[in-house]
């Protein structure tokens, strides 16, 4: 069973711009996804400081993504987990 590695930034900017809600992801996903999901917090990688910054940032299986919302994340995880 292939695991899905999810890192959610817990830095100041990301946290108040949405990461606080993203951290509830385990409660929100389908239990089939939850079994494969490995959620960790990540420290600030500096993306929030660039001119084109769009927090909150996550890394899904190593891929950096910004402007994340709970709905988008659930959709992405469902795709990864073969639920769509």
């Amino acid at each position: 069973m292939k695991s899905i590695e999810l890192e959610i930034c817990t830095g100041t900017a990301c946290y108040i711009l949405g990461a606080a809600e993203l951290l509830d992801i385990e409660e929100m996903v389908d239990h089939k996804i939850k079994e494969k999901l490995n959620v960790k917090g990540a420290t600030c990688c500096g993306s929030c400081k660039s001119k084109s910054s769009c927090p909150p940032y996550i890394r899904l299986d190593g891929e950096l993504m910004g402007a994340m919302t709970l709905e988008k994340l659930i959709t992405l995880l469902n795709e990864k987990g073969g639920l769509t």
Binding site: T10, I16, A42, C44, K49
Partner: protein, 393 residues
């Protein structure tokens, strides 16, 4: 190491009231190396008693802080403040303690239960002088008690209102109330179990026990103030990267070698520590609230938190003496608890500007690091009588 006077208090409000009729005022006067503690119990309960106790306590505080001799201050208060026409007793009691940094105490008491002095966990009774006063309209001769118990390192002074000594009044176990000698037995038992119990913990345990004796509903305001002449507990807080990257290594060395507890506040700062000390940082995503980001762990550091949001909440908790928030499961609660349970607190504040703080979409109430740290230090000194130091690097 020079001894420190840890001074703290606990109040349980009388059941059904929203405000206590007992007041405690504490002042640390670093320039004069002295400390002033006042305890006043107002007649009745609720807001009226609070006002009476506040008037009395404030007068005492102002006189003594401004160097009026405490016996003289006491006499002025006794002669100025009225006597209740019906009950013919004073509108409020008071105990005034003026104690130097070396532990030399001068105490004057009016109508509160006698204070207690503990040495090596046992009560010792200091000598007191009785000062008689005649007041019109009072039904009895008024008596003030003056004493100068000299404290040695390890000693404790405990002051309480009659809500403590009269706890459990009318109960089967203590029909005449808890009474001074049973309070003493309780305290001696506590100190026997934990000879290093902090002033804060002792004050809390005494008032909690008194409330329990009142069956969980305080029959009167219950107040205990403790002064503990102790070796200081040290804490170092590091927050913000140094202005100059060359100082990163030095800052981290200071953390590593510090003889006491350590907190790192801020992800950037934590990353520097992780790099320089070659230790992993693990984030505890479960220890957070909707406003306070998660804490992290690193070997050798007592607490790692996020920066601004956490520090801002810590400042609020300390400024409001918010006991309730201390029990919550997030970084600011743990941080504030560590601060309150220390005596010497040092803040090492890095001054490199964090670009993310300049983002206009972040609420401006966050403020900048320096002003929030200043608020924390001010609250620690004023509300908790801690000794604080800070350095900008």
């Amino acid at each position: 190491m020079k001894c420190f006077l840890e001074i703290d208090y606990s109040i349980e409000i009388k059941e059904g009231q929203k405000i206590a009729g007992d007041v405690v005022f504490l002042n640390r006067l670093p320039n004069e190396e002295r400390n002033v503690c006042i305890l006043s119990d107002g007649l009745g309960s609720g807001i009226k008693a609070n006002v009476l106790a506040t008037i009395t306590g404030k007068m005492a505080q102002k006189y003594v802080v401004n160097n009026l001799d405490i016996t003289h201050a006491a006499k002025i208060i006794m002669n100025t403040l009225p006597v209740c026409k019906e009950r013919k007793i004073s509108y409020a009691t008071f105990t005034i303690c003026d104690i130097s940094q070396e532990g030399a105490a001068r105490i004057i008491e009016y109508d509160n239960p006698s204070y207690q002095l503990y040495r090596k966990g046992k009560e010792i009774k200091p000598e007191k002088i009785s000062i008689q006063l005649d007041r019109e309209r009072a039904f009895k001769k008024e008596e003030l008690f003056y004493s100068e118990p000299p404290l040695i390192p390890g000693d404790r002074l405990i002051f309480f209102s009659d809500g403590v000594t009269q706890a459990g009044l009318g109960s089967k176990l203590y029909p005449l109330g808890w009474r001074e000698r049973n309070v003493r037995n309780f305290i001696e038992m506590l100190l026997d179990k934990n000879p290093n119990m902090s002033a804060r913990e002792l004050a809390k345990k005494v008032t909690s026990k008194a409330k329990i004796l009142d069956n969980g509903k305080a029959g009167d305001d219950i107040t205990a103030t403790v002064i503990y002449f102790r070796h200081p507990r040290k804490l170092l807080v590091v927050t913000g990267p140094p202005m100059n990257k060359d100082y990163d290594k030095e800052m981290i060395q200071r953390i590593d070698q510090f003889p006491g507890k350590k907190i790192i506040a801020g992800g950037t700062t934590a990353n520097i520590a992780s790099r320089e000390l070659n230790r992993k940082v693990t984030i505890n995503i479960k220890q957070r609230s909707k406003d306070i980001p998660p804490t992290s762990d690193m070997e050798g550091i007592d607490l790692i938190t996020e920066g601004m949001l956490t520090l801002n909440k810590v400042a609020e908790i300390l400024e409001n003496r918010d006991e309730k928030s201390l029990t919550e499961n997030h970084g600011a609660a743990r941080f504030a608890t560590l601060l309150i349970n220390s005596d010497h607190v040092t803040f090492l504040v890095g001054t490199r500007v964090n670009e993310a703080h300049q983002d206009p979409s972040i609420p401006f109430e966050i403020g900048i690091r320096r002003s929030i740290v200043r608020r924390i230090l001010q609250a620690l000194e004023t509300n908790y009588l801690k000794e604080t130091h800070f350095e900008f690097i």
